[in-house]
């Protein structure tokens, strides 16, 4: 068999493949386990007698007649109105992403092109706010929000999440804009653009990988947030993550935990699709930001 000249020695190859396999199992096992278990009943997935029940589904067959059941999904989505949380999450993530990106691209561009010293201090201030634990901000918000009567609504949460996310988007987009030569906007301006047209027609088309990458991180922040959404939203306005947490917290009735498991799987699925769909832009965006050119 022809082997490439730079082939690794066999033990090293076995070691590295073994490591990759180990990492894959460690990373993917919880997802696979949860996804599989979400189609079982609670006595199986949380079996006290035999853990293999979660795989074979003994109780599930006894209760429903089939090895797989959609009862968890039915209960979560319909009975517990998980679909409302899905809509709430969609609204929150979409608004947070769009608002963060709008201010982030405009602000990042301005900061990248400004010659003034204070831009540095603005960025440092942004970094400090970014470094704070989210919960420190939330505790400060609670009383004013109650007093103003705006606690519990989606727009309030969106504003808070944007405030938390904005420093990061500013930093990220700022460094993307720095990697785009100034000559590009200047030639656009000489060619007949206003400053804003130059930004829109000449700079943004080159910026797409950066915008997509930053947008994705903003999306993930809003999508995965627990601290803010759990403390600032009423029961009926809850997004997916606090909703799942509330399922887990109510174990009095049998089966409720399975709602959480089913909901978790429902919440993960869109993320897979999203990352697969944008993976090319994300990779090129990450490297474009890393290597200044």
């Amino acid at each position: 068999m022809a082997r490439p000249t730079n082939a690794q020695p066999l033990p090293l190859m076995v070691l590295s493949l073994g490591f990759i396999a180990l990492w894959l199992i460690a990373a993917a096992f919880p997802f696979v386990w949860t996804a599989w278990g979400s189609f079982k009943v609670e006595p199986d997935f949380f079996s006290r007698s035999d853990w293999t029940n979660a795989i074979t589904g003994v109780q599930t067959i006894r209760q429903t007649g089939s090895a797989f059941t959609g009862a968890g999904y039915e209960g979560a989505w319909l009975e517990q109105e998980f679909w409302k949380s899905v809509i709430n999450t969609a609204i929150v993530t979409l608004c947070v992403t769009v608002i963060s990106l709008t201010f982030g691209t405009l602000g990042g561009y301005a900061l990248a092109r400004s010659g003034y010293r204070y831009t540095f201090w603005i960025l440092i201030a942004a970094l400090i706010f970014r470094a704070m634990p989210h919960v420190t901000l939330v505790s400060g918000y609670l009383l004013p929000f109650f007093e103003l009567g705006i606690w519990g609504y989606l727009p309030t949460t969106i504003i808070v999440l944007v405030a938390i996310n904005q420093p990061f988007t500013l930093w990220m987009l700022h460094s993307f804009f720095l990697s785009i030569p100034k000559d590009l906007d200047e030639s656009a301006m000489v060619d007949g653009c206003t400053r804003f047209q130059a930004f829109r027609l000449a700079v943004i088309p080159v910026m797409w990988p950066g915008v997509v990458t930053t947008g994705l991180f903003s999306f993930l922040l809003a999508y995965n947030d627990f601290t803010v959404t759990s403390m600032l939203l009423t029961q009926e306005n809850q997004t997916m993550v606090p909703k799942i947490a509330s399922f887990l917290g109510s174990t009095q009735a049998e089966g409720k935990v399975m709602y959480a498991v089913a909901a978790v799987v429902s919440a993960i699925a869109p993320l897979f699709v999203l990352v697969l769909f944008f993976q090319r832009q994300i990779v090129s965006g990450l490297t474009a930001g890393a290597v200044k050119g």
Binding site: S187, A188, V190, D191, G192, C193, A202, P205
Partner: protein, 349 residues
Amino acid sequence: MARLNLKNVNKRWGNYVAVKDFDLDIADQEFLVLLGPSGCGKSTTMRMIAGLEDVTEGEIWLGDRMVNDLEPKDRDISMVFQSYGLYPNLTVYENIRFPLRVRKVPKDKHDEMVMTAIRMVELEQFMHRRPAELSGGQRQRVALGRAIVRKPTVFLMDEPLSNLDAKLRVSTRAQIKNLQSKLKTTTVYVTHDQIEAMTLADRVVVMNKGEIQQVGTPTQIYDHPANTFVASFIGSPAMNLIPGTLRGGTFTGDGITVTGLTAPDGDMTLGFRAEDAEITESGGQIAAPVYAVELLGEASMISWRLGDALVSVKTAKDYRAETGQMVEASVPAAICHLFDTQTGKALPR
């Protein structure tokens, strides 16, 4: 067509003076070159004309319009950048069409105008490629094409050849010269390369530390440098400059004595061009051991070390001498320039 008029233009950032009292009339259809070392304010001057930098003080007139407060897009200029400034997401054709699109030129005229420009810069076979697929010279030609497509009143070129290799630089230089003579558009060209300045310019403005040192045709600047800075900047090699004193028409410096000069007594710097002086058997004004012999191809260059100054003379290409050998050179008063050592200014001859 357009005259360009800069009236006492100043640019300052805080205490730093980038351009000081720049005062110049640029005639219609003129090819003007701003020449100087890096940091001399030449690019800043051009960027003020383009509107990319604000003018701190003074006025810029384009034709009969004062353009100080106009946006770059309203000045009717076009500019070629050192790093091309092409739109990487657009093809060559779309790059050149971009100014027409944003300026709302009627769509039915686009194709004809773009194709004319593409033919002028000889990019027909590359017009559907993107900038990333082009060589440096081709990219710069795209930038040129984009500059000429809408027939502006003034071209600004900011070191357009600096990123090209030596061979390409010569051919692109010729192309720029040819384009300008065909289009007859007023052009301001910034460079630090004196050969570019000499070959391209109708008039050269030599700048240093934000100030104009001399304005003149390439010949004037070469033959009659206004001060020691211009003398040491123009020419390859630059003019030989030797400090010394003048007493009764005789200049005496380290290892050199020149008689028959007409100027008042005082501390002077003597200057002469390497190609004006000659190697001689005897009776030369310079007689010293040779420091180095360099072969240039079309000539040989002999140099001496006179005090701190390195003095060179060009001679026939087959001339040979050993390092350290005594060689004399004749430097008659007729080829000499005198500069006041204090002020650096040239004395009238």
